[in-house]
């Protein structure tokens, strides 16, 4: 899973470039997230607009990435595709993560 990070001032934007986060790629995803998120940004935003498919291992890796940030930093999600949104909804993870629909002023100002 290719991920690229961009410093957006008050948050770090990490873009997932691959189209799936699944059992075969979950460990690589988790390691790369840990490496990229070693900044001082209080918020990390994961752009998932290109990810068409996520399985439970991939979801576990995203949860692990959030826990890896520690108690005082947040992982937020930008843009879920329909199948990925279904996995978040059915596992109720949509109630845990702040999910933004688009990169907007709202995202920039969200707390």
């Amino acid at each position: 899973m290719d991920l690229i990070a961009e410093d957006c001032g008050d948050y770090l934007l990490i873009r997932a470039l691959g189209d799936r986060i699944d059992a075969a790629g979950a460990i690589g995803f988790k390691d790369k997230m840990r490496e990229l998120a070693q900044t001082d940004h209080p918020r990390v935003v994961l752009d998932m607009s290109r990810v068409a498919f996520l399985d439970s291992s991939g979801l576990g890796a995203i949860v692990a990435a959030m826990k890896g940030l520690g108690a005082h930093r947040k992982l937020e999600i930008l843009s879920l595709t329909p199948t990925v949104e279904k996995v978040f909804r059915l596992t109720r993870m949509d109630t845990i993560f702040t999910i933004h629909t688009e990169l907007s002023e709202g995202l920039r100002n969200a707390v």
């Binding site: 699944d22 059992a23 439970s56 826990k67 279904k86």
Partner: protein, 168 residues
Amino acid sequence: MQFEPALHILADRDLRVPRSDLHMTVQGDAVSVRAGLGRLMGSAPLMRLSPDCRGTVEIVMAEVLNNIVEHAYRAGPGPIRIAVQSNAARLTVSVCDQGQEMPQGEVPQGLLAPLGAQEDLPEGGFGWHLIRELTDELLYERRGLFNHLRFSISAEFEDEGPIVSHFE
């Protein structure tokens, strides 16, 4: 009364020779499962489904196959046989492997762990919950050295079939 023998023959034939739209064998490791899912989703019976229904099928199949890789074949990979039958209302999927039996010989309940503080959030245990939410008639049977799992998914097809215009 005169229809009974005919119906009986039809039912009997259906039972002995189930019509199967698709048969596939996938090697039970994570990389092969990813490639196998790609082949399955690109197959004719599944290409006709609506995008939403395709998403459901892909989630369920990924969870079922990953579960076999991680649990049934935890000692080492083996083959996974998949058969898909479809009609206008539903897909019926059979999945067979020769790995370890399910714990207690039954399909796990798939109850979600409570979602509390960030540091306590579960990183797994979602798979059977997703399967149970998205399937009907989930059946598991251990037969000799084989695990047989069978389930159905409500089928929704694309609104429009192949567009054939008679007016051009």
